[in-house]
């Protein structure tokens, strides 16, 4: 049945939410090759039939030609849809993870996709730089509504002095309570120095925002 491979290609999109490996020798590459091969043979058959129709006036061949034509279009649509949806996922990753993809994902991309990603990056960076009359504005931060994150913690082990981002120095003595930025607390909580007293609302200029600012600066400087 024509189009079965094309359909299989599309169903891969549904089955896996991650980007599958698309490199030389892998399943996806093989599938696409098969679909292209099918297209080629359908096309060749149609050329032959069209000639027959023209030369010998053999109209009986017409339905076959039409059928193959539809199958050809469908196959094309399947392949392009597959590529397009991988691209959409890639695009999402740019916004989620930043301009440099982790190696696990990079190895799953075909060259053309790596190129696409770099071009998209460049395009996006250029656009962001142009904002605010060329002062630049990073659109990849501030994506969620800001709230303040202060975590109420109890110090369970003597720790001594702790310096915050803004220069403030806190003395963490056993059995004292503090209201501190979450980004500062989390590592200390993991180490057992602090423990959660109560989860309050959210946010403080987090160090994630700082990292993003650094990224924007490096985007700005490469041309």
């Amino acid at each position: 049945m024509y189009g079965r491979k094309g359909f299989k290609l599309i169903s891969e999109l549904d089955l896996y939410s991650d980007i599958l490996p698309f490199n030389v020798g892998c399943m996806i590459e093989a599938l696409i090759k098969e679909v292209l091969q099918e297209m080629q043979s359908l096309y060749d058959a149609n050329v032959a039939n069209s000639n027959a129709i023209r030369n010998d006036n053999n109209m009986a061949l017409l339905p076959s030609v039409q059928l193959r034509h539809i199958a050809l279009k469908r196959n094309k649509r399947c392949i392009l849809a597959y590529i397009y949806n991988r691209m959409r996922k890639l695009k999402e990753l740019r916004w989620e993870l930043g301009s440099i993809l982790p190696p696990e994902i990079n190895t799953n991309l075909i060259n053309a996709e790596v190129q696409w990603f770099q071009s998209y990056n460049k395009s996006l960076a250029k656009y962001m730089r142009s904002l605010g009359e060329d002062h630049g504005f990073n659109l990849t931060t501030n994506m969620v509504p800001p709230k303040t994150l202060y975590v109420e913690v109890k110090c369970v082990e003597d720790f001594g002095k702790l310096e915050l981002d803004d220069g403030q120095v806190i003395l963490l003595k056993k059995n004292t309570y503090h209201l501190l930025p979450r980004s500062v607390c989390e590592p200390l909580i993991r180490q057992g120095i602090l423990e959660h007293k109560k989860y309050v609302s959210m946010e403080f200029p987090s160090y994630e925002q700082e990292t993003q600012t650094i990224q924007l600066r490096s985007i700005k400087s490469d041309d």
Partner: protein, 186 residues
């Protein structure tokens, strides 16, 4: 729209606080706040009130309408009325959650208030579901939604417009030739 985005919008509403510090007027881009005089009430946006409260720099005064008795009266009115009654705030649900969560020690009767508001919400949501059902069945093309609040509208946002779209599609599919709507893949 994400509920946290609706909440974001509601945080612009003003609320009275009593600061425990004094400070001159602060000129924000969205307007001026203050001056702050320790012990004297001042109105600030909720996002600021919650923040100051978390840093133990103020007490929060409940909104005028956060009175358990009058809320319970409103609840009865809502039950009796076929239409939606006007709520004291377009963001009554979010304001209640934000303020009562962070300042339940400042607000007497917090529990009774919470319960009354939750009850009102339930009654209205149930009314909303019935209205939508009727609307869809009558193949409504337009409806007036006065007195519906932001969070309530948002709660039907995924369902209602989508259902109406689907109905429209089914209706026009017969007549349509080739048309591309958003959502179809290439």
């Amino acid at each position: 729209m994400d509920p946290c985005e609706v909440e974001f919008l509601s945080e612009k509403e003003l609320v009275s606080i009593i600061p425990n510090f004094s400070f001159d007027m602060i000129h924000l881009i969205s307007g001026s706040v203050g001056p702050f005089r320790a012990g004297l009430p001042v109105k600030v946006p909720i996002w600021l009130a919650v923040n100051l409260k978390q840093q133990q720099k103020c007490r929060i005064i409940k909104q005028d309408w956060m009175d358990a008795d009058s809320l319970n009266e409103a609840k009865e009115e809502e039950k009796l009325s076929k239409l939606f009654t006007k709520m004291p705030s377009n963001h009554y649900m979010e304001e209640a959650q934000l303020l009562l969560n962070v300042a339940s020690d400042d607000i007497s009767d917090a529990d009774r208030i919470k319960t009354a508001i939750k009850d009102i919400w339930d009654i209205r949501m149930s009314k909303l579901r019935t209205s939508i059902d009727a609307f869809l069945k009558s193949e409504g093309l337009h409806a007036k939604l006065d007195h519906l609040t932001a969070m309530e509208i948002n709660s039907v946002r995924p369902l209602l417009p989508h259902a109406l779209d689907q109905m429209l599609r089914i209706q026009t599919d017969g007549r349509a030739t080739q048309s591309h709507y958003s959502g179809t893949s290439q």
